[in-house]
Symmetry: C2
Subunit: 241 residues, 2 copies
């Protein structure tokens, strides 16, 4: 059985006594029924991890004695995924699965055909970040993606650095498939990928992205739900380059 | 708005009047509130599709007049995915997403570390097939994977044809990553892939698969849930070759 894993604040993870956040301490005590002396693993969601021994666990919180902190090298290329904003269950699935797939940053995009509005912004963002944190503890990956609030397509296009490799998954792309574009991504330090919402990008949106340097391509053979396209693309970039 | 899509029996899809299965007819009438004259799309889950006009829809069933049936070419390579049997929510997710990802056949494998037992076999199999059918109607893909009942590792290894390319995703594989194995799959007509259950394959199981011609490799950078590994691998084989 692997060690029980807890998520601590990024600033908190250093050699010495590390405080367990209140929620994590309550979970350790009430659900996992751990006691001082238990060996545990701590992660900070930003690539640092440590093993340690629980030294205190009571109603007021908990603490873990850590000897050494290990830093995981970030995966390459850095991967920024920009999915069209989807309905809540699909965005929830993305928050979890894109964490496992070691996506570095998620930037939901507001598009013409997106069904949901960007309301409840702060609460939704906190929900996605909480789900990503839970996924991190379950899957044992070293870092959670940074999830940004939904932004307009123009804002996202402007944020992509000139030197990044840029992909647009566009279902009306007639010529180029993803497999043709992939070899050009080998060696890229950073990849940005735009994926449409359930109804796809409009031709105007696709043209706007292409004008900003995004290479339009499509996934052949099948018609994917928008969230599946995001997962498949993240898998391809993480594991096929 | 795209055409309403209905799933009919494979044998039923031909030019002329095609009967709507009772469940599909009831859905068309009570939920979608369609009436004779409506244009609809029919798929048979085995690669055939047709557009037609609803000619009859009442309590006893429905019928669609079809002019021409179109056959979608199967994607290449043929992809047979053999995931270790997972708990119900994960298997449900796989039934849906592997349909979208145009996997041809799913063969759940009974492994030493698999949590669930292969009980409730027939009911579970029917549930996965129903979910795959629903996914097909939603995503508009042409065919659903054939989902077989769970079988032992030995049975699955024996079923893989000698000429198929064979992959084993093994988390304790120390040397070879998936990206190193991929170039060797280009041009393969058929790919079989074994993916472990939540706890992974035992070393004995991995050795057994390697002895049967499966090439052991791993997904670097991160630690995936078993179902995410299946989705990522299907995406890589469908879109990166």
């Amino acid at each position: 059985m692997s060690l029980r894993r807890f998520l601590v604040e990024p600033q908190a993870l250093a050699a010495g006594e590390v405080a367990l956040p209140a929620e994590e301490a309550a979970h350790a005590r009430k659900v996992l029924r751990l006691a001082p002396g238990a060996e545990v693993e701590l992660i900070d969601g930003q690539g640092r991890r440590a093993q340690g021994v629980l030294t205190r666990l009571d109603k007021s919180g908990g603490a873990v004695m850590v000897e050494a902190v290990e830093a995981a090298a970030p995966p390459s290329p850095r991967l920024v995924l920009c999915p069209g904003l989807l309905k809540a269950p699909a965005m929830d699935l993305l928050a979890v699965k894109l964490t496992e797939l070691a996506v570095d940053q998620v930037r939901p995009v507001l598009t013409r055909r997106a069904v949901p509005k960007a309301d409840g912004g702060k609460a939704k963002l906190e929900r996605w970040q909480r789900l990503a944190g839970q996924a991190l503890k379950q899957c044992g990956a070293a870092r959670a993606p940074e999830i940004l609030p939904p932004a307009s397509l123009a804002e996202v296009l402007a944020a992509a650095p000139p030197e990044a490799a840029k992909l647009l998954l566009y279902e009306d792309e007639g010529r180029t498939s993803l497999s043709q574009v992939l070899p050009g991504l080998n060696g890229a330090a950073e990849v940005w990928a735009l994926i449409g919402p359930e109804g796809g990008f409009t031709p105007e949106e696709a043209a706007q992205a292409v004008a900003a340097g995004f290479v339009s391509c499509r996934l052949p053979h099948t018609i994917l739900r928008a969230e599946t396209a995001s997962l498949a693309l993240a898998g391809v970039i993480r594991f096929a380059l």
